[in-house]
Amino acid sequence: MGFFLETLIGGLMSGMLYSLIALGFVLIYKASGVFNFAQGAMVLFAALAMARFSEWLPSRLGIESKVLANVIAFALAFVVMIAVAWLIERLALSKLVNQEGITLLMATLGISYFLDGFGQTVFGSDIYKIDVGLPKDPIFLMESTFQGGVLVNKEDLYAALIAAALVALLTLFFQKTGTGRALRAVADDHQAAQSIGIPLNRIWVIVWSVAGFVALVAGIIWGSKLGVQFSLSLVALKALPVVILGGLTSVPGAIIGGLIIGVGEKLSEVYLGKYFGGGIEIWFAYALALVFLLVRPQGLFGEKIIDRV
């Protein structure tokens, strides 16, 4: 029982991180109808930036305080991500408006290749570590309830908390701020949004920046966990089924989908893995999403599509 809970919680926590990245997808898809395959590349890019900055600042500028270094590095990385977002909008998206989804998807594929290459060219391609002082020691919960209690990795716990906080923050941002409302308007109907004078391009830059920010946070969390390296950009592939499950256009969908996938992955690995010779979490999420699609093509919270003639 304890073991089950452990797995469950573990699942929920990694699920939280999936939702974080999934959120990036959803944001961009809602605002610009782009299925942003480059989300993963952005995570890697952001993480690389963060890692290298936090390393250079002390060494080159002799900033002693580790915290300060991290903060500045974070700020810088964010600026970089905004720049990236702006460039993507300028150079690619603005020239591909009103193209079919597939074309845009392929474009973001191109972008992700570019970012991967670019990031590693600029920041190098070794394994770097990010240390934002997340405690690594495990804690034990509910030792009273069961023997040995439930082991939880503190780092995961914090990560999950941060993720949750960010998700909450973004949701607020969407509901409350003017920009948020503008974003929603754009998402609902481009023409209408334009006609009431919402500057599409600026909105897109903002969205991509936000997505960049999300990527940065995700990058830091994963990075400090696994170290910053190319494999980070594959994390995004993990988030895809989440989006599908939750529905491309729904923020809550992304969150819940993330949790489901996270939990499902862990449980399946633990309880089914042995029958399949392990490693099934690679595809389990997809299988799950796929089965789900067949039942409900528009995902958990997505809108139904009617094509008119």
């Binding site: 299925f35 150079l91 690619a92 020239k95 591909l96 193209q99 079919e100 989804g101 597939i102 074309t103 998807l105 392929m106 474009a107 594929l109 191109g110 972008i111 992700s112 290749y113 570019f114 970012l115 991967d116 290459g117 670019f118 590693q120 060219t121 391609s125 592939l237 895809l240 089924p241 989006v243 599908i244 491309l248 399949f276 010779g277 392990g278 490693g279 099934i280 690679i282 595809w283 997809y286 299988a287 999403a289 796929l290 699609l293 067949l294 093509p297 094509d307 003639v309």
Partner: protein, 358 residues
């Protein structure tokens, strides 16, 4: 400018519907084939055959298959690598488990297995469209990667799914030396190119394109989306599967699942985007481009580096290479969504109308 079409009038539909209706084109293609089959084997040295021409041909074949699905039927797929893998491993199993199984037969059977898998993963396409479908095909990719890594039966209990084949032959002729391999591949590719071309210019090809261009209208004139899409998946994955088998048997000789990773899938997608969606010729252009560009950059960049006085390591070069790929994809999608093939055909039109612009 080179075209002289006066007097080339068609007195039968057969003549009018041939693949190359213009005499000058027919001459050109025959010349090209002659060079490919006769001159190249005589002059090209081992390295070029092994490292450039053979992979180019096999990847062209795979791109051709993918183009059927994406370019002609408009169904995106990110799982091409998986279908290649199925082709390769299935062929491998037929080859080693059934004794006396001829290589060619094994390869084709491998293709058939890929077809089966392709159709299975194509089923979602009946309910889900575009982006969602992309994810479904990714599922295929990951599942297959995993399967050949973990399910040891497929790999004849080889560790980490690395397998190999040797002493290949076709109709008693050995397929060992690069030249033999080249000629064999070339033959297969030419035959397949012809067959696929026939398909896309026949009823089924029109059904695919109809679904791609305007599926509602297609349904109204009695085209079954189910049939059209599944046949596209079937044909596509058959060709891709055969390509996979060749990739393993002819090019690599011994391989492991990594040879058919998701990167392969993306690479093939790039080939048809750059080469030209919905164009047979485009598949070849794209393959040539993507095979040659890295080789070129490997030579050019370091040279350039030393010229400006800095040493560029291979890692750097490879990063720049994928960077350039990425940029090119976006560039083509924006500037010429129909790729090199369209540039080619526009150029040809200009030559036909020369000196007039239109």
């Amino acid at each position: 400018m080179l075209y002289r079409e006066n007097g080339q009038f068609k007195t039968s539909y057969r003549a009018d519907l041939q693949i190359f209706p213009i005499a000058q084109d027919r001459i050109a293609i025959v010349a090209l084939l002659a060079v490919a089959f006769v001159v190249v084997p005589l002059v090209a040295d081992q390295y070029y055959l092994r490292a450039i021409l053979i992979p180019f041909l096999i990847l062209s074949l795979a791109a051709l298959g993918l183009n059927v699905l994406v370019g002609y039927c408009g169904q995106i797929s990110l799982g091409t690598g998986a279908f290649m893998a199925v082709g390769a491993y299935a062929a491998y199993n037929f080859f080693i488990r059934v004794d006396g199984m001829p290589m060619l037969a094994a390869v084709l059977l491998g293709g058939l297995c890929a077809t089966a898998v392709g159709v299975v993963f194509g089923i979602p396409s009946l309910r889900i469209k575009g982006l969602y479908l992309a994810v479904a095909t990714l599922a295929a990719q990951f599942f297959v990667d995993w399967a050949f890594l973990r399910i040891t039966w497929f790999t004849n209990d080889a560790p980490s799914g690395s397998v190999g084949v040797r002493n290949l032959s076709v109709f008693g002729l050995p397929i060992e030396s690069p030249v033999q391999k080249y000629l064999f591949t070339l033959t297969v590719v030419v035959v397949f190119a012809l067959l696929v071309k026939n398909l896309v210019r026949s009823a089924i090809g029109r059904e695919w394109m109809a679904i791609r261009d305007m599926d509602v209208a297609a349904a109204v004139i009695g085209i079954r989306p189910v049939y059209a899409k599944l046949t596209a998946f079937a044909v596509s994955s058959f060709v891709v599967g055969v390509a996979g088998a060749l990739w393993g048997f002819i090019y690599l000789g011994s391989w492991e699942p990594a040879a058919f990773s998701i990167d392969r899938s993306f690479q093939l997608l790039f080939m048809i985007i750059i080469g030209g969606l919905g164009s047979i010729m485009g598949s070849f252009f794209g393959a040539a481009f993507i095979v040659l560009l890295p080789i070129f950059l490997d030579q050019a960049l370091p040279a350039l580096g030393t010229a400006v006085g800095l040493r560029l390591d291979t890692a750097f070069v490879s990063h720049v290479t994928i960077m350039i790929f990425g940029a090119l994809i976006v560039f083509f999608l924006i500037v010429e969504p129909h790729g090199i093939a369209r540039l080619w055909s526009t150029g040809k039109e200009k030559l036909r109308l020369w000196p007039f612009p239109h």
